[in-house]
Point group: C3
Chain length 211, copies 3
């Protein structure tokens, strides 16, 4: 994470034009926020015990800041209208906050908040697959494949989070706490570092296709 944020930070400072600078800068902050989270976890900070299971509250706090930046990154690439971008950020924050409340609630109330959080995610996915895609394809008629790939990877990674949540100790307790944490870590690297490089690659392809 730290290495990736240094890479993106350098990229932002030497970017050849404003669009590259924006994409690098957003990636830099996304990774820098995540790096702070993992540092806190190494120091065993920012969690509390609820019902005997450790609840990483800091995780949700950093997600509240980093996931809207990912949405802004997508919106910037797709030249999304402010209304749709703001609605996606709203749905995203709603999803994270409901997920946070689910984590600090006891069962069975936690399951209801989990469903609400998933509902917000479905709303976000709807906005991405319909409104976002529509607008992006109108802006870049020759680059439908680029956005198809971006959205597939994005939704693929993000859909894995609620699956881990419901399988881990927060849900049905099928996988233990350590495995759950490891899954989140892998997903975070994919969603932040991996997706960051995909965003850079997409911008390159958009520039080539649209000249």
């Amino acid at each position: 994470m730290t290495l990736a944020s240094i890479f993106f930070g350098f990229g932002a400072n030497h970017a050849k034009n404003l669009r590259w600078q924006v994409v690098y800068s957003l990636n830099f902050f996304i990774c820098a926020i995540a790096a702070a989270l993992y540092l806190a976890m190494i120091f065993k900070q920012g969690f509390t015990y609820i019902d005997g299971r450790p609840a990483y509250l800091t995780r949700y706090l950093t997600w509240t800041f980093s996931t809207p930046l990912t949405i802004i990154l997508l919106s910037y690439l797709g030249r999304t209208s402010i209304l749709i971008a703001a609605s996606m950020v709203g749905a995203d924050v709603y999803m994270i906050v409901a997920g946070f409340v689910a984590t600090i609630s006891t069962k069975p109330i936690s399951n209801i908040w989990y469903i609400i959080s998933c509902g917000a995610y479905l709303g976000l996915a709807y906005l991405l697959l319909r409104r976002y895609r529509q607008q992006a394809e109108r802006q870049y008629p020759r680059s439908k494949k680029v956005f198809y790939r971006l959205l597939t990877v994005h939704l693929g990674i993000w859909t894995a989070y609620p699956i881990v949540w419901i399988l881990a100790s927060t849900g049905f307790n099928v996988i233990d706490s350590t495995t759950g944490s490891a899954c989140y870590t892998i997903l975070d690297i994919a969603a932040k570092v991996g997706f960051g490089f995909l965003a850079l690659n997409s911008l390159k392809q958009l520039e080539q296709a649209e000249g």
Copy 2:
């Protein structure tokens, strides 16, 4: 609340133009945030006991997000300048935070924070009645009555909140905790669902008047 947010959500998705879409979307998020609050209250979550009286901290947290959206809704309808809109949001957040501090403080310190919160509200009311109205009437010279009604209803409902606060267990303890909660609930429905429909109606009248 949930029903209203579903209605506004559908409206946003089928709105005939961008302006309707914005108004529907803002109403949707305002009601969706409030719906989450009432769900938390049904589950008896998000409050703590201070001086033996229950303090609904979540109420203030959701107000911090929903009331600025109401201000943005008003500003969008009145085509308010960014500076005035941002100042109104600033005064609004200041008012909510001071009210929150008043709620978690013990008496008599709580009364001083209450006065500060009321001061912020007076600042907001001043901005609405002078700057906001001036700008709105310049933008829509033929619709003075629409804004007169909007502001009367808005200020009427919002002024009732501090009155309930000072009469309830947080203030002079004239009305009991349950009645206080019921008052807030009625006010929230008026300020969110009722005001949402008024905003839709106002937009319709503005479109008719200005052609």
Copy 3:
């Protein structure tokens, strides 16, 4: 603080044009937020004991809101691009949050967070001295001296904060808790009231120089 915010508030209301109104309004909110902090401190609210030393958590909360407004004030005066202004706000918030985590952590972990916070500050200083200055000098070619003075005063005051932190009970414990608090108070007055007047003076000089 309260007097200064009243002064700036009056100024905003009677400003001769939009630019003065913006600068006055930003100063008003910066001072109003700080005034609330000092009121809370007079009431002995908003702090907790960590390792036997008082930690003023509210200080960091108010800084999270007031320092971005200072950055926005600087950006407005220098007509900074949105990307650079947003990056500076991002670095600023990162710095405050890392400083907050440093304050609530036990040693030696607190020192690592302190270094991270300083790193964010160096990033912010770099953006100010290179990007911000470049853009400001391009916008106002005849007013290099105004921005030189603004940045010198700004960075001079802000650099004193981490020095107080590391000397106070949060760091090497060279100065006692009361002296540390007094230092912060003097710095806050300089950074908010003093810098506010400097910003007004700079705007005047910019208007005179550029006609």
